[in-house]
């Protein structure tokens, strides 16, 4: 392997990993803010408990997003210095704005929220959470603007071989960015929906297994009336409402991702036709959407691939809104790309040893084809499960079935998988370009960059291998720790986030007076 491959693996691993935490932060943050708002307006105990419990899980996850996000701000300069030089003028602006206008708000106000219970007036405390959550959405917008510029460069001209911003409005209202941002936010909400549903399902199931809740002849829940400390009637409310909110959020966000994803596909068809063809493993021009294609997708020899089952006209619909437009296949596009962007990498020192090597314009089709389908498949599966769950929950609890509970908990992973697969598809489908040229008139055709030219020339293979191994190991260890903590806090129920509930239960609690003004209501 050479430096370029290592650098790409490193970017891929660190970014996909970072984006495991980000959608949960954004989605769950919005949901928790709504819960606290409901508590603020109604004063009902179950909303407070929901805020505290889901808020605790939100924080356990949030910090991992922050920590891994730091790497993102640095790594364009670390391993991709040529890229930074080429695009810094336009690409740096949204990144710097993200830090200054969004991330600052997010970090500062979340600190206020975590430590501000009982120290801030209730309305300000709620406002602090909303500020942090809205900032996280803005944060996503700025980052998507930067990423979308790589998919569809706009608002620049080339000066001395570097992209220079000439129209900020075009950059910040890039149509690619607007639909990708919408798609990403709904994708984040889908993650939160599944997360709520799976965990709340587990607790409803556990309440039944522990004999707290039973069902009557109609299958309707009978909530235990004894006092159970932290697990009384309110506890049942917490989980039932959480499960219902989760299912509804999952359904809404699936509809949102479907509509925005459709718009994205239509833009992609215009802006990056090769990505669309590779998503379909479509060698020849056609109109059908492949449900299953066989053959050696990795052979890079397109003629091996046979679509076993196609939905006629669907591809044209995805790409163009009708059922008859022929979508260009790989065999048509390859000669076009070669003619426009060259057969070989230019004989320029910026390409180092790779200068003069032939360019493979076809992305890795196993990844694009399956990435596209896993995204859609997992997304749809999660939404279908949410629909079924909503129906089952109409009687106020869940069945005693253990495997159904396990399915609900495992189902949490589906939207995560859909998010990761979607991003891997988008980024791998852009190859061999890091900044994709755009054949459509709204893009700037002359501004593009091959990934091969983007890597830092001065950084040695050994350094890259070291950092790849170190970051991957550290991330793996921290993922285990995070998941372990999440499991512990989930198992502990609401009391894990509200120790005062457990304390009330065993009356000889030693904890010093909660009314004592000197004792912090929350402390590390």
């Amino acid at each position: 392997m050479e430096a370029l491959e290592i650098a790409r693996w490193q970017f891929g691993i660190t970014t996909v990993y970072h984006f495991l935490m980000v959608p949960l932060t954004i989605g769950l943050g919005l949901v928790v803010a709504v819960m606290q708002t409901l508590w603020y307006r109604t004063g009902k105990d179950h909303y407070l408990r929901m805020t505290k419990f889901w808020g605790k899980l939100f924080l356990i996850n949030f910090i991992m997003g922050v920590a891994t996000g730091l790497v993102q701000e640095f790594q364009f300069g670390l391993a991709w210095s040529e890229y930074s030089r080429f695009v810094g003028d336009v690409f740096g602006a949204p990144l710097a704005m993200e830090a200054l206008l969004a991330f600052f708000v997010e970090s500062t106000f979340l600190g206020l929220w975590i430590f501000g219970w009982q120290r801030l007036p209730k309305v300000l405390h709620l406002g602090a959470l909303w500020a942090a959550v809205v900032a996280s959405v803005f944060s996503a917008y700025f980052i998507i603007v930067a990423n979308s510029w790589m998919q569809h460069p706009v608002g620049v001209e080339l000066v001395d071989g570097r992209a220079r911003m000439v129209d900020a409005w075009a950059v910040f209202t890039n149509n690619t960015a607007l639909v990708a941002f919408t798609h990403t936010i709904f994708g984040a909400l889908a993650v939160a929906g599944g997360f709520l549903l799976g965990i709340a399902w587990y607790h409803l199931w556990k309440r039944r297994r522990d004999g707290l809740d039973t069902v009557d002849g109609d299958g309707k829940v009978v909530v235990g009336t004894d006092t159970f400390g932290s697990r009384g009637v309110i506890d049942h409310q917490v989980w039932l409402r959480s499960a219902r909110i989760g299912a509804v959020v999952a359904l809404i966000s699936f509809a949102g991702t479907a509509v925005s994803g459709d718009l994205q596909a239509k833009l992609m068809f215009e802006q990056q036709p090769m990505k669309m063809a590779a998503a379909e493993a479509a060698c020849h021009d056609g109109t059908g959407f492949s449900v299953l294609s066989v053959g050696n997708l990795g052979s890079q020899d397109c003629d091996d691939i046979v679509a076993v089952f196609e939905v006629p006209g669907l591809l044209s619909f995805l790409a163009n809104g009708d059922f008859t437009t022929e979508v260009k296949g790989v065999n048509t596009l390859l000669p076009e790309y070669k003619e426009q962007y060259g057969q070989t990498l230019p004989d320029d020192p910026m390409y180092g040893e790779r200068a003069g090597m032939s360019i493979d314009y076809l992305p890795v089709m196993e990844v694009t084809y399956w990435g596209f389908r896993i995204m859609i498949g997992f997304g749809a599966l999660a939404a279908f499960a949410a629909l079924v769950a909503l129906w089952i929950l109409r009687k106020g609890t869940v069945p005693e079935s253990r495997w159904l509970m396990r399915l609900a908990v495992f189902g949490i992973l589906a939207p995560f998988g859909a998010n990761s697969a979607g991003w891997i598809f988008t980024e791998m489908g852009r190859q061999p370009f890091v900044v994709a040229p755009n054949p459509d008139p709204s893009g700037i055709d002359g501004v593009f960059m091959f990934t091969a030219a983007a890597v830092s020339p001065g950084v040695s293979l050994a350094e890259l291998v070291f950092s790849l191994v170190a970051l991957t190991l550290v991330y793996a260890v921290l993922l285990v720790v995070e998941v372990k903590l999440l499991f512990t806090y989930v198992r502990g129920g609401v009391a894990s986030a509200m120790p005062e509930l457990a304390a009330r239960h065993d009356d000889d609690s030693s904890s010093r007076g909660k009314d004592d003004d000197d004792v912090l209501s929350f402390a590390y």
Partner: protein
């Protein structure tokens, strides 16, 4: 105006680094003191909770300094980070562990769990302070860059006296600054111990910082940077005197002023070079040849003019909200999370 933009942005990035070292300076120092100063678990929790609500906001100053460098001086960003590849990777790993440790340390009630995260906080804070100090020193003293701004030489060519000086300057400053912060933010025995230690440590702790400023000043400074350096020395002395006479607030402020003046001297002496090449002056990165276009700098200036005062306002408010001193009495008992 247009021709002034790169200079304005150089000043702004200097301000961001100063803000970062001033604010994160004390929480990095508190992180190191978790091992070096605190004796019991409750003391460690006192230390942790003095910075608990604010450390994350402080760290964004670093993210913003780096992001602003990419936006305003892409060539500086590209050359500095790729040339100092290993130190920055270590800084990132350190900051990752430290951030997670702050949040996770209290989430399980076990001594082993706490000990591990304490070590992460200590090592993370130390490595981050040292690495950033070295990087800032090297961006003023120079790196072996070719005409494209890429490193000539191996992964360790940056290991020089200047790197050690910068690392020592930031680590020691952070320790002193953290002690001054603890004197302000705690009460009782911890506070007294912190003050005593600070009075002994401070004269030594500012030496590398002032020495770094002096070397950069001697290499390329003017009368003005010389005056600022004198201000830095005077501020450090005033800080010591204030601590000695129990004027805690002034002690903290004067120490911060010593940092700000030192950095002003350092960045002022380096100007207009942002990253010198030790191979040839012709390859130096300067505010002119490393900067973004006037259009981008103008846009970012508007953003900064709105954003920076806002940040100062709401971060200032945060410090006001959490102004109360943290003592051993204010720390609630650790609680265990057990399955239902």
């Amino acid at each position: 105006m247009t021709e002034l933009l790169p200079t304005i942005w150089f000043i702004l990035i200097s301000v961001l680094w100063t803000g970062f070292l001033f604010l994160e300076g004390f929480d990095l120092g508190v992180g190191m003191l978790m091992k070096l100063f605190a004796r019991t678990d409750r003391e460690r929790r006192v230390l942790l909770n003095t910075v608990g609500p604010v450390w994350d906001g402080n760290e964004v100053w670093l993210v913003t300094a780096v992001g602003a460098t990419l936006a305003a001086f892409p060539l500086w960003y590209a050359s500095l980070l790729s040339t100092l590849y290993l130190p920055f990777i270590l800084v990132l790993l350190a900051l990752i562990f430290r951030a997670v440790a702050f949040e996770y340390r209290g989430k399980m009630n076990s001594d082993q769990w706490r000990r591990r995260w304490d070590l992460a906080i200590f090592l993370g804070s130390f490595t981050a302070a040292a690495g950033i100090g070295a990087a800032l020193a090297l961006t003023t003293s120079g790196l072996p860059l070719n005409e494209n701004g890429d490193r000539v030489g191996g992964p360790f060519v940056w290991v020089t006296f200047d790197a050690f000086l910068g690392a020592a300057a930031v680590v020691l400053f952070c320790l002193a600054h953290a002690l001054a912060f603890l004197v302000l933010k705690t009460d009782g025995p911890i506070r007294e111990r912190a003050r005593k230690l600070l009075i002994r440590l401070l004269p030594l702790a500012v030496v590398p910082l002032l020495l770094w400023a002096a070397t950069v000043h001697l290499a390329g400074g003017t009368v003005w940077t010389g005056l600022i350096l004198a201000v830095a020395v005077a501020a450090a002395a005033a800080s010591w005197f204030a601590e000695w006479s129990s004027h805690d607030g002034w002690g903290f402020i004067w120490l911060g002023a010593a940092l700000a003046a030192s950095l002003a001297c350092i960045f002022g002496s380096a100007y207009p070079v942002v990253l010198p090449s030790t191979l040839s002056d012709a390859f130096n990165l300067t505010v002119e040849n490393a900067s973004s276009s006037p259009y981008t700098l103008g846009l970012m200036s508007i953003v900064a003019a709105v954003g920076v005062p806002l940040v100062l306002a709401y971060q200032g408010w945060t410090y006001w909200v959490f102004r109360k001193r943290v003592t051993e009495k204010s720390i609630p008992d650790a609680h265990s999370v057990s399955p239902l």
